[in-house]
């Protein structure tokens, strides 16, 4: 088994040629003397769940930050559906259909669950200052239309009884779920999830895994997942990328990655 596996389009028949939705091409990020990510490349295939794993400090979140536009890579490119998005602002990248959640939940704590979801629909709404101030008319019709879309997500994530509760009053696991809902409200084509199950108990993890699979299968949203729980990662991922100290040390199906000697040595060390 080779440690490095990647899809070579030339070896596949044309009809199953996978469509690459996001291509990360040799990105590096340095902070002063520290290299957080070093020339990492990966292809995210449309409709798949790709997990990025690695020990703490491997550069997983930095990689996500470069995709969503928070960090500018020192070298390399990020391409979404053939378009170079490397130098775009995070808000522009969101508008292009990439949504994400954060490792340490970044909800609007002073607002209700519903308002958080409505904010998720910001880029799908059009009302400007004048129509907002006049409100009765186009702005109100737009609010109602998007409220319906939010209610659909509330039903999907079973948040019905919490829609008017401030998110600061919610339990940890629920906040994670609301954050997923806010990302879904954007109607993304690609969803970046940064440790959606971090700090959850087994039941909550199973719920979250079910939601992630539903999002992927029913809504056809491509997912890039960072997660430490190997059981979950191996169960739900189509492909796994392994980072260690900023470099990609393995890529492949869960089974391939699990048996890769480079991965085993990165996680468990080498027998002397």
């Amino acid at each position: 088994m080779t440690a490095m596996m990647s899809i070579d389009p030339a070896t596949l028949p044309a009809q199953v040629l996978p469509e690459v939705q996001l291509r990360v091409d040799g990105v590096s990020k340095r902070f002063g003397g520290v290299t957080a990510v070093e020339s990492v490349s990966m292809d995210v295939v449309k409709g798949q769940i790709l997990s990025v794993i690695g020990p703490n400090g491997a550069g997983k979140t930095s990689l996500l930050n470069m995709i969503s536009g928070f960090y500018q890579p020192n070298t390399g490119k990020v391409m979404l559906g053939g378009k170079d998005i490397t130098a775009r602002r995070p808000s522009e990248i969101a508008e292009m259909g990439i949504a994400r959640t954060f490792q340490n939940i970044a909800l609007f704590s002073g607002l209700t669950v519903l308002d958080n979801l409505m904010l998720g629909r910001h880029v799908r709404m059009k009302s400007g200052v004048l129509s907002s101030i006049l409100y009765w008319g186009p702005a109100m019709r737009e609010e109602i239309r998007h409220r319906e879309a939010c209610e659909e997500i509330i039903d999907f994530l079973k948040l019905q009884d919490l829609r008017k509760v401030q998110t600061s009053a919610l339990a940890y696991g629920l906040r994670k779920r609301v954050e997923l809902g806010r990302a879904l409200a954007l109607e993304p084509s690609l969803l970046l999830l940064d440790e959606p199950m971090g700090g959850m108990n087994q039941d909550e993890k199973e719920d979250m895994a079910r939601y992630i699979l539903d999002v992927n299968q029913e809504r056809g949203i491509t997912i890039v997942l960072i997660e430490h729980d190997m059981g979950v990662v191996m169960d739900i991922s189509d492909r796994v990328v392994v980072l260690d100290r900023g470099r990609k040390i393995a890529e492949g199906t869960p089974a391939e990655v699990q048996s890769s000697p480079a991965v085993i040595s990165a996680y468990l060390g080498v027998k002397k």
Partner: protein, 355 residues
């Protein structure tokens, strides 16, 4: 007002999103409207109407500042300067070109919005205390420029007399005529702010206040929206300055100095940050407080102080009590009068069965 919500079921999203979702709140709003449009001007003496008029002007300015500070979370200690921009724009347009108020009013607002947007540019880079100092600098710069440019300030005294606003050929000069004039704009500002706060733009402002990183990730361009908040807020300030100018019949930079900026900050802190009701209550409170203190000191102060010194005592008492109240509010109820009102209402919502 005091009401319970039992048996109230909503069947459409429109009714769930209404400003006054319950029949009783709609009735209360209607009753308040009748009170202020019909009863108050009929019953009250001109002197009391003049206090109302000052409150109405303050409401417009406080709402504007609250959009910036309370909703968007960007501090400004230079708001009085934006008011003076509006005031001098309108005064010059009214005297030099003879334009009526319905042209000079929006023009003053737009000019203030323009200057405010420029002042807001540093907010893209700096936050909190640093932004406060930057806006403080802009207050002093704008003040100095107006004061030292005769073309704007109208000469050495830096004050411009403006003609009274006219509506349907009537000069609005008595307090009761001005009452309706100012009430109209105060109501307009209140409704506009309520609508703004519950729609897409207002939510984006709050998002920037609560979590600017998350705001950016869901597609809100922070740069654009911070500048927009500065623009809208200074538009209100400009309109407030224009109303002030028409009310007093004179544009004078001394009416828009740093202490006025602080007064308006006090209004929204005492009233409640990020709340329309808070802006209104704060404007009422801060406008009425010195008047109340003066009345009390002049009535009862004779027993303690020399009668000749009473006006000086009233002036310094104002500062003492004012400062004390702001400290008390910051410590005891940082969410202001609006929160106090909500607490009282929530207590009675379940009263007498508190569980």
């Amino acid at each position: 007002m005091f009401h319970r919500e039992a048996g109230n079921f909503k069947t459409t999203y429109a009714s769930d999103m209404a400003l006054f979702p319950l029949p009783i709140t709609r009735w209360t709003a209607a009753a308040l409207a009748v009170l202020f449009i019909v009863i108050v001007p009929l019953v009250l003496h001109e002197y009391y109407l003049s206090i109302f008029n000052l409150v109405f002007i303050a409401i417009v300015g406080a709402l504007g500042l609250n959009i910036l500070v309370g909703y968007t979370g960007q501090i400004s200690i230079g708001h009085a300067a934006f008011m003076s921009v509006g005031a001098y724009t309108a005064a010059n347009l009214a005297t030099k070109l003879g334009l009526p108020f319905w042209v000079t009013l929006p023009a003053g607002g737009l000019m203030a919005a323009f200057i405010g947007t420029i002042v807001g540019i540093p907010s893209l880079r700096i936050k909190g205390t640093y932004l406060a100092i930057a806006t403080l600098a802009s207050q002093l710069i704008i003040e100095w420029v107006i004061n030292h440019t005769p073309a704007i300030s109208g000469g050495a005294a830096a004050s411009i007399q403006v003609p009274r606003p006219t509506l349907f050929g009537i000069d609005l000069k008595s307090q009761s005529q001005l009452y309706f004039f100012l009430l109209f704009f105060a109501m307009l500002a209140i409704v506009a702010t309520m609508n703004l706060a519950r729609s897409r733009i207002g939510r984006a402002f709050v998002a920037i206040r609560d979590q600017d990183i998350a705001a950016e990730i869901i597609g809100i361009n922070i740069f654009r929206y911070k500048l927009l908040a500065f623009a809208i807020s200074s538009f209100y300030a400009g309109v407030c300055g224009v109303l002030y100018t028409y009310y007093f019949g004179i544009a004078n930079y001394e009416a828009f100095q740093i202490n006025v900026s602080i007064d308006y900050l006090a209004m929204i802190i005492v009233g409640g940050l990020g709340s329309v009701l808070g802006s209104v209550l704060g404007a009422i409170f801060v406008t009425m407080l010195p008047i109340a203190i003066r009345t009390v000191v002049e009535t009862f102060g004779g027993y303690i102080w020399d009668t000749n010194a009473l006006s000086a005592v009233a002036a310094s008492m104002r500062l003492v009590i004012f400062g004390m109240l702001i400290i008390l509010f910051l410590v005891l109820e940082p969410e202001g009068l609006a929160r106090l009102w909500r607490n009282i209402r929530n207590y009675f919502r379940a009263w007498p069965f508190s569980y």
